[in-house]
Subunit: 489 residues, 2 copies
């Protein structure tokens, strides 16, 4: 096990970092808080990106790119917004270095900027300063823009993919002529987020509103998708905000409506980030490493020839040609691991670590029997399959793996979600983890007290919550909402 | 003409900015030197990106992502590199803002960083600090990594797409076990750059080496693709660098070769940027606005119904269904401009400004005749085509437009490229523009003197240059190289 990962049960945080490092998903960058996304991890992110991007485009959104740098003054134009972000802003103050006596470089004091600029923590302010120029009439609305970009929120406690100073994300920023349209947009995006999380990432999510304490700085309403990780903690996996007219007010963005009257524009913003890669790892990974749902796996199938010599390899490569041709034609991503100096056992471990959904072994006996030997990463099941049938079988198997992984995660979440009415029981349960479904009286004070006592927060106010006869788990008063409490990342 | 652009002949720089603004390609950002890429411009960039990305992948490259922030000390590890970039670096010195008495925000002095970080102007240093960790043996080589990212080089003189503080690009960074392999890689990428420029962007380019004065800071050799703009000036459209062992030395990156001996790694880096969008505009645009080569046009065809009422529109939409279905099946990007309140004339101008390759008009007469009326943006030719034949005709026409635009640009460049041996003639010609093909004695002093006298620089040392009987245009000495001189962006 020297090359394996720390078992989950022993130290979840170390297990997580081990998997990321050994599967070559990411690495720490040289500046504290930064991350390098390695090719294998980036390929997963690219698949996630494509899944979202195609759905955004289908629903009428277009991509654009706004500047990384924002005038410092912009941040304070929206009162809540500055509260939320001022404490974690990278600030650019100079524009030049010069040689130092010791041969290194120092900041050239003469290059001090007149007004400091901040590195975007999110782009509402810079985007709404542009919308001010672009929006005049109802004919310019709705404006449905998304951008894929890097953002910076200064962090000292790095956790790869989950908490880094810089991360990659998409941020949608839309402008509408009415409140209804903007709210509909917020919810439409929430649906897309849920659909991609569940059908592409195989991660079941709960959806609902955030409480005021957890709301985005500058939003009227924040909706979220919330998932349970393998250690039973919650992860906010995406948020969709209805911003009302807050940013339109801050940047004075008005439009002429159909009756020639000036009105403030209604806004939404929404984002998912490379955090989702962290979620993937934590929801599906096991003590052998990553397990990737077929839809985002860089290789869906890896073929391992059981070989000793280059000649053996050639024979096997010929043998699998009809199989690989069929895979290629069905658009299945595969790789033949033909490295001669590594043993099959070494390769098995490596591809298990990398979470490839199906491993296909081919050796002399398989060639005799006209079969391939097939191992599923999700269940560990192994079986020979007839060479002729293989492409079809593999295709079906990939679908089964995708849905099985979703079901495993769903069962895990359900097993670890508890309906609790009593605060003592609540505290006991929270200490050993899981989601608690319970009543909340709607009072920020009870929420704050629970957080203080247990570190658990309201993850979401359930959209389909039932409050009849429900009481607040803390105060015992009649519940205003049914909510999910959990400790979160 | 009040809504048109400044004629090219009147003021080329204003024409350029007018086209960008009116075609909604880009806009100025709020921080001086920054640019917003609007959806229409971004869609063009996305097509360019896809063209390169697929070719990089076909040739074995993978994408990754490295941090935006680089420790200040890294920049000075490679002596030439720091020279090249220190004077235009955005420097982050603080990580927090706090409320000011006036309700705004100020930089919190207590958040001063121990070591300032710079915003990447290019990523060699941060990437080679990681390669140090990842490369141990010849088995880890070659390492063929590319990233799509934003970079910052502080600029006060903004020119949209050509010169902005922040721009988008790809930067490839590869590591090899031998000089030969690394040089081959440099040239392979140069070929890809040329092929995409010419076959996708319809921009003819010259390829060759840069002189030492124009070489990348840290490179042994810089190869480039160089194009002629509509005002006969040159634009460096992409560069591919052979870096030798310079960065391996600076970051101590060694590998165990097949004979178990330690050796420094050989490197390349190469990049193209959003500058190419500027090149597209300047090479192909005319006084009516943009002209986009079909391969990168967001809409290859725009269909304009000649209508008065919503009923007219419905009839025409029905009429074109077989046509649009066929376009969709052939993967041709098109749009029906069904806006009711705009006149056809307004729409014609707008789509001409946006450079859509083919405009299809459909009115009552066309319906009677079972035709569509078709106008080419590149030549202005107009003709009716039979509805039945239309999809096939359009497909052929798009190919013709693509190659015609390339040929137009090639002819323009050839017409404005002059073989000159005499320095007086050189000076006269440079004053009125164009490329000068001539001899260079290889002496940096003659190059410097020419730059001083005329502002022209060596754009590239021609790979296929002929030096037999050629003399240096400046010194009259025997030429070492045949080169292209021009004034450049």
């Amino acid at each position: 096990m020297s090359k394996g990962v720390t078992p989950k049960s022993e130290d979840y945080a170390r297990w997580y970092t081990d998997v990321i490092t050994k599967a070559e998903m990411a690495d720490y960058g040289p500046v504290k808080g930064t991350m390098v996304i390695r090719p294998y991890g980036f390929s997963v992110w690219d698949s996630i990106k494509d899944a979202f991007d195609s759905r955004f485009k289908e629903t009428g959104h277009v991509n654009a790119y706004f500047p990384l740098f924002i005038p410092k003054s912009f941040l304070s134009k929206e009162a809540d917004h500055v509260e939320g972000f001022a404490k974690e802003c990278a600030v650019v103050t100079h524009s030049r270095l010069k040689s130092a006596a010791d041969g290194g470089v120092v900041v050239d004091p003469e290059s001090k900027l007149e007004e400091e600029v901040i590195v975007r923590p999110t782009s509402e302010t810079v985007i709404w300063s542009m919308y001010k120029k672009w929006i005049n009439s109802y004919r310019d609305l709705p404006l449905l823009i998304n951008q894929w970009a890097n953002v910076v929120r200064w962090e000292m406690r790095t956790r790869l993919f989950l908490r880094t100073s810089e991360f990659l994300w998409q941020e949608g920023h839309t402008a509408h002529a009415s409140e209804k349209e903007a709210v509909d947009e917020t919810l439409k995006i929430l649906d897309i987020y849920k659909e991609v999380a569940e059908s592409v990432l195989a991660i079941p999510v709960l959806t609902g509103l955030k409480s005021e304490a957890e709301r985005f700085a500058g939003a009227v309403d924040t909706y979220c998708i919330e998932a349970m990780m393998g250690d039973k903690r919650a992860l906010q996996a995406g948020t969709s905000h209805y911003l009302g007219q807050n940013f339109a007010k801050a940047f004075d963005v008005k439009f002429q409506n159909e009756n020639n009257r000036e009105e403030l524009v209604y806004a939404t913003s929404w984002g998912v980030s490379t955090r989702l890669v962290g979620a993937l790892i934590m929801v599906h990974g096991d003590d052998k490493g990553l397990r990737l749902p077929p839809q985002v796996a860089p290789n869906q199938v890896v073929i391992i020839p059981i070989i000793k010599t280059e000649e053996d390899l050639k024979t096997i490569e010929d043998y699998v040609i009809p199989f690989t041709t069929a895979l290629k034609n069905s658009g299945i991503r595969f790789q033949i691991d033909s490295r001669l100096k590594m043993s099959p056992g070494f390769k098995f471990n490596e591809w298990e670590m990398k979470g490839v959904p199906i491993r296909v072994e081919v050796g002399p006996r398989d060639m005799e029997n006209k079969t391939l030997f097939c191992a599923r990463r999700d269940t560990g099941e192994k079986q020979p399959i007839a060479l002729d049938d293989a492409p079809k079988k593999i295709e079906t198997m990939l679908e089964e793996i995708q849905s099985n992984m979703f079901n495993q995660a769903l069962q895990f979440r359900e097993k670890n979600t508890f309906n609790i009415n009593d605060y003592d029981a609540f505290k006991t349960q929270i200490a050993s983890g899981g989601f608690i479904r319970c009543g909340w009286d709607g009072d920020p004070a009870s929420e704050a007290q629970i957080k203080n006592d247990t570190k658990a927060t309201i993850r979401c106010i359930l959209a389909d919550g039932k409050t009849k006869n429900l009481t607040c788990v803390y105060s015992g008063k009649p519940a205003k909402h049914e909510v999910i409490y959990a400790k979160a990342y």
